[in-house]
Symmetry: C2
């Protein structure tokens, strides 16, 4: 029997989950839940119901794992603990400072109801966190570096769109090659924000907007751009749609460290991702952890977990003997 997956929220991430479920024979999509009027939402998988979030309780025994595809700002802090009372749940909560609080809320709800809740799943937090953790455990005397990109930052694109005179915009975060090379060479550089990443913006202006003023406003925006070398390109709406519709991303997690009686030997551990679609890759990670949530729940485990708490084998559709034979 397949593991029955529910999707809560049908945006980029929800659609990515739907695609990922299709790639995994041991999973099936049971239902998609939306806050919109269900008749206005159509999904790609034949025969799958789109249901109102108000009816979710009736699906209690028809879904093995519910994947929450809302935002970290307001959706997930409320939804993940709430639905952990009814289902095994997974989310991609990424507001770092609020993880301890979110973990505690999900843990309490999941333990009380006897479910598993896995939070902060994706690539950062998620696969990048895992790689930081493994590398730290292996090389305790070392230094961590994380670089993001080249990729689209939704937050920075949104920040540009809020500027008066901007009709549309896309922002790319780009790691600085020479900084990456220094790190890989084991030079352990101390890098400022400006030395690690540059920001490149493609902006469509409203008719009659003042380009110089918009550019100045972008480049001096605190937190978002002021600390970076930022390039601004003004383009037409057609160009933006044609050349910048994708949502690529990726990045690099590197740890350099020393071993030996006197720290005489150097080592570099590097993990990198190059992703055509940020939401589809995040969805693929979520779906693998949904399988893990199902297996852990079957074993009687309950409460909140993160990627650190999940033994790798749970993510795979293969059993232990197959894993040892094919992948060890």
């Amino acid at each position: 029997m397949s593991i029955r997956i529910g999707i809560m929220g049908y945006g980029n991430l929800g659609r990515g989950i739907e695609c990922a479920v299709k790639q995994n024979d041991d999973l099936e999509l049971a239902a998609v839940f939306t806050r919109r009027e269900p008749s206005t939402v159509s999904v790609m998988t034949e025969g799958v119901s789109v249901c109102s979030v108000n009816d979710i309780e009736s699906w209690k025994d028809k879904i093995d794992v519910l994947i929450l595809c809302g935002g970290s700002a307001t959706d997930l802090p409320e939804q993940t603990p709430k639905y952990a009372k009814l289902f095994n749940v997974i989310d991609s909560f990424d507001t770092h400072a609020r993880i301890p609080e979110h973990f505690a809320n999900v843990d309490a709800a999941a333990k009380e109801s006897g479910h598993i809740g896995i939070i902060s799943v994706g690539w950062d937090p998620g696969m990048f966190s895992l790689n930081r953790m493994y590398a730290n455990a292996i090389l305790p005397d070392g230094k961590d570096y994380t670089f993001w990109g080249k990729g689209v930052s939704q937050g920075h694109s949104d920040a540009i769109r809020r500027i008066e005179g901007v009709k549309n915009a896309k922002q790319y975060t780009i790691p600085v090659d020479s900084a990456l090379e220094q790190v890989r060479a084991g030079k352990n550089p101390e890098l400022t924000t400006r030395q690690k990443h540059t920001r490149e913006c493609f902006v469509v202006l409203e008719d009659g907007a003042d380009a110089a003023k918009v550019e100045e406003e972008i480049k001096t925006m605190p937190n978002y751009f002021a600390d970076y070398d930022t390039t601004v390109h003004f383009i037409s709406e057609e160009e933006l749609l044609r050349d910048h519709s994708g949502i690529p991303h990726g990045g690099f997690v590197i740890r350099t460290g020393k071993t030996g009686w006197n720290g005489e030997n150097n080592h570099v551990i590097e993990y990198s991702l190059k992703l055509d679609s940020n939401p589809e890759f995040t969805s693929s990670v979520l779906v693998a952890y949904a399988r893990a949530a199902y297996k852990m729940s079957k074993e009687g485990q309950t409460g909140c977990k993160t990627v650190f708490d999940v033994a790798p084998a749970y993510l795979s559709a293969l059993d232990g003997a197959e894993l040892r034979k094919n992948l060890l």
Copy 2:
């Protein structure tokens, strides 16, 4: 109280374990066991006893995890199950075809005695296996590539040394850059053995040996060299000692895969290692898994495990809340 580590076998790997234990405040070296006459072996850690392997049973309650540093050909198949009867054990067993049999033997012994045995720990098998497994679970529609090097292959160096007229030799395995680039670009090439790696040999001849004959014998050696583009350099013993005394290694695990309703988006997951000292890095991985074995044993788990079965958090000296705060 510290986790008490025992080392069985004091060669390159055993010395690496000793160095790695020193880097971890929650671990202490309890004893080193040797098949040699103990008085002929001196270790670097002050106050640590070197004991005969014959006396190991008396250490039953004084060691939390015994790390087995022998070879996979004859030592580990016998030692790991044998000592799993007395201790929690870890090894770096790397004879791939015999892993199922070794797993079964260690599992039976460890379950009967109530211990944990973690086998095939290191970087390949080990961290490379883990990265293959995670990447396969995330991108089920994809292709795996493993490249090794640049690094010293002991097996190939030994094979050269067995040739008549060779006094000493060191062999480097080198990944082919253009193949790596094709893989990273998502081109999914089918690569032959020759297209993935080259082999470079530094050879010291015995007086009067025939260089051309030795070179021919190396280049045509079945399994080891015949399927590769091999370069042979004849150098003096002084040059070999001066320039080729290190034991560097490393490599790349890459998985490329597709997502999207019609497989329209491509992704590249890459994990790489660049290691000054192969045995010291392997030792560092073993020591992190020794911590995991201790924690899992404390929880009452028993039997044989591999890296696939160990939740990442067990490897770290930090607790769950610290991990979530600092590394998630």
